[in-house]
């Protein structure tokens, strides 16, 4: 068995849901083929058992021939062992097929998500993509897993039909008609069942969301009240989930009953006909037993085929959602080829064509732009059109993201170690960035090897913000754009960060969107943007005196 995951999942065929499923199947053909062969051997050996049983009864028991009985018993044993062996290895391949398909799909989705970057949340809700990664991935696995059992079922039904047609064609005909008839008769009940199952799943999902909502807001509920209200609400929803479950069960149990009834009636017909033929001497008693065995055995492959049809339908729906994600392209890919003009870093100016803002190369420039800051920062960082660097429009700039880094408060902290999160070339540089962001207390508490939990939620809002700042600083970009990097930090610490930030950047271009006098006071140059245009420029202290609108925006009294 090959090892998983594959190092390169390859380029998926995203032209349509069937194409995607076909691509996945082709990628793991090396496991699907042996799995299918084993499935055939496994089901086939089960299909042959009634035949051997019949022979043992005729030649051994009926003929009172102990040697023949022993021989046929050994054949039965051999067949049983073949079934056991092929069944166990079929399982192995089925598990591999399930996992290989699921893993490859996850790899493909993650690679696509990182390719899309900021385009992803614009086009899709993150919940949609995450649920694809959780639920739909399993559906693809289910479809690949069923190939082995599905193929075995089809082949074994053919085997049984051929045997029956050969020994007594009328009986073969009964089976040949009976099997599709049973599937056709069961089909109408599947629709209401699926409808009720879907309803039940939706309600269960809602209930889980309600429960998660209670846990998420538990501080509020325990701090200020409302436990009884929410308990009652939850009970109501829980009871409707229960009612939906009972409604589903009422149909599901009918299916269980029909699952016994229809094959059972086929068994009765086969037995009844067989008994008449046996009485007329046209078939032996052993054959009668064999016919009974075939009819009883057919139940399994029959339901497997129904299950396979169901799984493939679901996989198709899942594949549709996956393909929708795979078909998207990033809006602002980092594919430029032009170098900025100027030889030194500080030669290159950063400009925004919308507001007319120009950030000179080098030094710490603070921008006071109020609620317009995020859009402006996006343009200056190449996340929206309008910015250029060193005279080159950002879309054409070579290595845009290496040169210009925009750090916003919505940036996510990833799970892992503090060191991994900072991703500095060495520990000294990591500590320098931590120092500049005044995040020593965070790192001292857990160490560089300490864990960062999901979303950094073990840290306070201020700690998260400083860790994010340290991470951005450690990336050492040519141009650093920071949006309100100290909004959740206390005044003492903010003042310290303002001092250290400039030192750490060492003259490289830094753009700071802020409204805090503590930060503005340390900036080399301050630009005030109001109503979509640059309104004033200069030093903080001068602007406070000369520009009343600026004063109103930053100083509170």
């Amino acid at each position: 068995m090959r090892s998983l995951p594959v190092s390169d999942p390859g380029t998926p065929d995203n032209r349509g849901p069937w194409r995607y499923l076909g691509w996945i199947a082709r990628c793991q053909l090396h496991a699907i083929i042996p799995g299918t062969l084993l499935g055939v051997a496994w089901m086939g050996s089960q299909a042959l058992m009634p035949y051997v049983l019949g022979q043992a009864i005729d030649h051994g028991i009926k003929a009172k021939d102990a040697t023949s009985l022993t021989e046929w018993s050994l054949v039965l044993l051999g067949l049983g062992l073949l079934q056991a062996l092929s069944g166990v290895f079929r399982h192995r391949f089925a598990v591999f097929n399930w996992l290989a398909a699921a893993y490859r799909t996850i790899q493909v989705i993650v690679r696509q998500a990182t390719r899309l970057g900021p385009t992803l949340p614009k086009r899709l809700t993150t919940g949609e993509v995450v649920s694809v990664g959780i639920a739909d991935v399993s559906r693809i696995g289910d479809a690949m897993d069923i190939t082995a059992r599905g193929a075995g079922s089809v082949v074994s039904i053919i085997v049984v039909t051929v045997i029956l047609l050969g020994s007594m064609w009328q009986m073969g005909l009964v089976v040949l008609i009976g099997i599709p008839l049973i599937l056709a008769l069961t089909a109408p009940i599947m629709r209401p069942l699926h409808r009720r199952q879907t309803r039940q799943r939706e309600l269960t999902g809602d209930l889980t969301t309600r429960a998660a909502d209670i846990v998420g807001g538990l501080r509020v509920l325990r701090g200020i009240g409302g436990e009884q209200l929410f308990s009652r609400r939850f009970k109501d929803e829980s009871q409707s989930v229960r009612a939906a479950g009972v409604r589903t069960a009422s149909v599901e149990s009918v299916l269980d009953g029909i699952g016994l009834l229809l094959p059972g009636l086929l068994l009765v017909v086969v037995t009844w006909m067989g008994a008449h033929y046996a009485a007329a001497g046209e078939i032996t008693v052993g054959q009668l037993v064999a016919f009974y065995g075939y009819a009883a055995f057919l139940v399994d492959p029959l339901w497997t085929i129904a299950e396979a049809a169901d799984r493939i339908t679901k996989a198709h729906v899942a594949s549709k959602r996956i393909v929708r994600i795979l078909q998207l392209d990033p809006e602002h890919p980092d594919l430029g080829t032009r170098e900025p003009e100027g030889t030194r870093l500080t030669d290159s100016r950063l400009t925004d064509s919308v507001t007319g803002l120009t950030v000179r190369g080098g030094g710490l420039t603070a921008v006071v732009a109020g609620t317009a800051a995020p859009e402006l920062a996006d343009r200056l960082g190449g996340y929206a059109d309008g910015g250029s660097y060193g005279g080159i429009p950002l879309a054409e700039l070579k290595e845009l993201r290496r040169r210009i880094l925009v750090s916003i408060n919505e940036d996510r902290l990833f799970t892992g170690t503090v060191r991994g999160e900072l991703a500095a070339p060495d520990d000294d540089l990591a500590r320098e960035a931590v120092w500049a962001a005044c995040a020593e207390d965070v790192v001292d508490a857990v160490g560089l090897d300490g864990p960062v939990a999901e979303g950094g939620r073990e840290f306070s809002g201020g700690q998260q913000q400083r860790l994010r700042l340290a991470r951005a600083l450690a990336a050492e970009p040519d141009v650093m754009i920071l949006v309100e990097p100290t909004s959740a930090v206390d005044a003492h610490t903010e003042a310290r960060i303002a001092d250290r930030l400039g030192k750490h950047r060492g003259g490289r271009t830094t753009v700071l969107f802020t409204g805090s006098p503590l930060m503005l006071d340390r900036a080399d140059h301050v630009i005030f943007v109001e109503n979509g245009a640059v309104a004033a420029e200069g030093e903080h202290a001068d602007l406070v005196k000369s520009c009343p609108a600026y004063r109103a925006a930053v100083v509170r009294e």
Binding site: L69, L207, G225, T271, A278, L288, H492, V544
Partner: protein, 566 residues
């Protein structure tokens, strides 16, 4: 500072499961009875077929009709049996999750404030799901398998006691191999699930942080993380697959050998005249049939085990001890005072003897660098935790001696974390206390609410409120709770500074006439307060009015000068 919640012991899980099952004896008896009857009717067919084989030609139509009749009865009984057990299962499941949520809603305030929500959330979602699966599928299947298996063995014994031997022969094999497997399976599956969860968490993280990945060029890092998660998942899956590769062959052999042995020995007995052909045929068919319930029973046992593990985590939530014993004393006034308060996290003191007296209606601002103990002090003043030494009292009564329902209408803590519940805006407000729409509107008006109306559905799945609106909502709840003292812990810090200023205006209306302790990092909040306390290294280093502190030229004065930049 996240803490794990307790997990119930094996004995507790067993006794709870027993009580849960026996809580509905009538339904249980009905389900068991129906499954039993269905199993018995299913056993008639091989017996009748044996008659047919014994004397071909005799009563063919009658026997075939008989088989048909029993097939119909069996199908009808099976339907009823499945329905009855599903109804019982759904009932038990609903009770279980409702009791669990009640326990969650009863968790002590100090636990809720301290423990991260991750563990509790995982129990609420994953463990409830796992248990649902076990109760819905595994439990009834095991039940049916037990009943069917038992009756099949009885039928076999009635047909020919002698032919019970081949079956009994493999019982030790099945028992030992299954025990070997089950001893390892639970941990293997838990590892499998944990690895899978880790992988999907990683995917969710990449998706929600897609912009950050691009900004920091972490693409390769995310791919590597995914591949590493898959590698771990694969290792976990391979291990449990290996266990099954050892266990399954023993099961398969356990099913095949008795069939062959029954045929062979039954045949030999027939040849020697000890048994009839009908007996041999029926017995062989019974033994063959037996593999189905046996397989169902054995393969569902590990699923039941996992359900048990989940149940243990759900029951563990009720084992958190209560954090306060109301003494029954009534506070004589509304002044809050702290006397030489010390408090420790993980045996390290973060407060080293803080004393503070607040006059009713006073506004105190607490400032200081991060990690100095501001938030801890705030929580003690709000009665969330009791101090390790010293006392925080309200009108002479220690805060943690008050019943929770009293406390929350006296002192409230407002943090930067606010939660908008899924539901109407009305639900989000009325949780404080049942109120008329007029009262609710008045509360909204007090915070200068400009958001959606009372009937609008908000929270996840509904209209998204801006952070500022969410904070306003939290303030409106306070208006309704009407406590005389408020502790604000950086309540406006995560909001865009411009929005914060509007918010602070609405906050002003809420604070009117109340005692306020504001932990703030914006100096103008301190400027507006009656007194300012500077907390540094777990002690109050400066305490006085704004003007006094500025005049003192300490660390507060230095900050203020820069801030005000005049």
């Amino acid at each position: 500072m996240s803490e794990r919640l307790p997990v119930a012991s094996r004995e507790d899980v067993r006794s709870y499961a027993r009580r849960l099952v026996l809580r509905h004896p009538r339904e249980l008896a009905l389900a068991l009875g129906l499954h039993g009857l269905a199993a018995i009717t299913g056993l008639v067919t091989p017996w009748l077929f044996g008659r047919l084989v014994e004397n071909p030609g005799e009563h063919i139509d009658l026997i075939a009709g008989g088989i048909a009749l029993f097939v119909v009865i069996q199908a009808a009984l099976t339907r009823q049996a499945f329905f009855a057990s599903a109804r019982l299962g759904e009932k038990a499941l609903a009770e279980l999750r409702e009791e669990f949520i009640d326990q969650v809603l009863r968790l002590p305030l100090s636990t809720v404030e301290r423990a991260g929500t991750g563990d509790l959330l995982a129990r609420t979602t994953r463990d409830v799901d796992q248990l649902s699966g076990s109760v819905r599928h595994a439990a009834p299947q095991v039940l049916i398998a037990l009943v069917t298996g038992l009756f099949t063995v009885v039928a076999l014994g009635l047909t020919s006691p002698l032919l019970l031997l081949p079956v009994l022969l493999v019982v030790p094999l099945l028992f030992l191999s299954t025990r070997w497997y089950l001893q390892r399976a639970r941990d293997a599956y838990l590892r499998e699930h944990a690895a899978w969860a880790e992988m999907t968490d990683g995917l969710a993280e990449t998706v929600t942080g897609a912009r950050t990945v691009t900004a920091l060029r972490r693409e390769t890092g995310r791919h590597e993380r995914t591949d590493a998660d898959i590698t771990e998942s694969w290792a976990a899956e391979r291990y449990s697959l290996k266990l099954r590769m050892i266990w399954y062959p023993s099961l398969e052999i356990g099913y095949v050998v008795p069939v062959v042995a029954t045929l062979l020995f039954g045949g030999l007995f027939y040849i020697h005249g000890h048994l009839s052909l009908a007996q041999v045929t029926a017995a062989t068919l019974y033994v063959q049939q037996l593999s189905r319930p046996l397989d169902m029973l054995l393969t569902q046992l590990d699923e039941l085990q996992l359900g048990g593990a989940s149940l243990a985590r759900l029951l563990g939530v009720s084992a958190v001890p209560s954090d306060r014993e109301p003494s029954g004393e009534r506070p004589a006034g509304t002044e809050i005072s702290a006397k030489d308060v010390r408090y420790a996290y993980a045996e390290r003191d973060v407060l080293h003897g803080v004393s503070l007296d607040l006059a009713p209606g006073e506004r105190l601002a607490i400032v200081g660098p991060s990690g100095a103990g501001k938030s801890t002090l705030g929580r003690l003043l709000a009665g969330i935790h009791a101090p390790r030494e010293g006392a925080v009292t309200l009108g002479e009564v220690p805060l943690t001696d008050l019943p929770l329902d009293d406390l929350r209408h006296q002192v409230a803590l407002v943090t930067q974390e606010h939660h908008v519940f899924r539901g109407t805006l009305r639900d989000n407000l009325a949780l404080v206390r049942p109120s008329s729409d007029d009262d609710l509107r008045a509360a909204l008006e007090a915070v200068a609410w400009t958001g959606p109306g009372l009937d609008e559905v908000v929270g996840s799945g509904g209209t998204t409120l801006t952070p500022a609106q969410a904070q306003q909502l939290a303030l409106a709840r306070l208006v309704l709770a009407d406590p005389h003292t408020l502790v604000l812990d950086e309540a406006t810090s995560l909001i865009d500074p411009r929005a914060a200023r509007d918010l602070e205006r609405s906050l002003g209306a809420v604070l009117e006439g109340r005692t306020v302790i504001a932990i703030a990092h914006r100096l103008h909040t301190a400027h507006d307060a009656d007194r300012v306390a500077v907390v540094e290294d777990g002690l109050i280093s400066e305490l006085g009015t704004h003007d006094e502190l500025v005049a003192r030229s300490g660390s507060y004065a230095a900050l203020w000068t820069t801030w005000h930049s005049t």
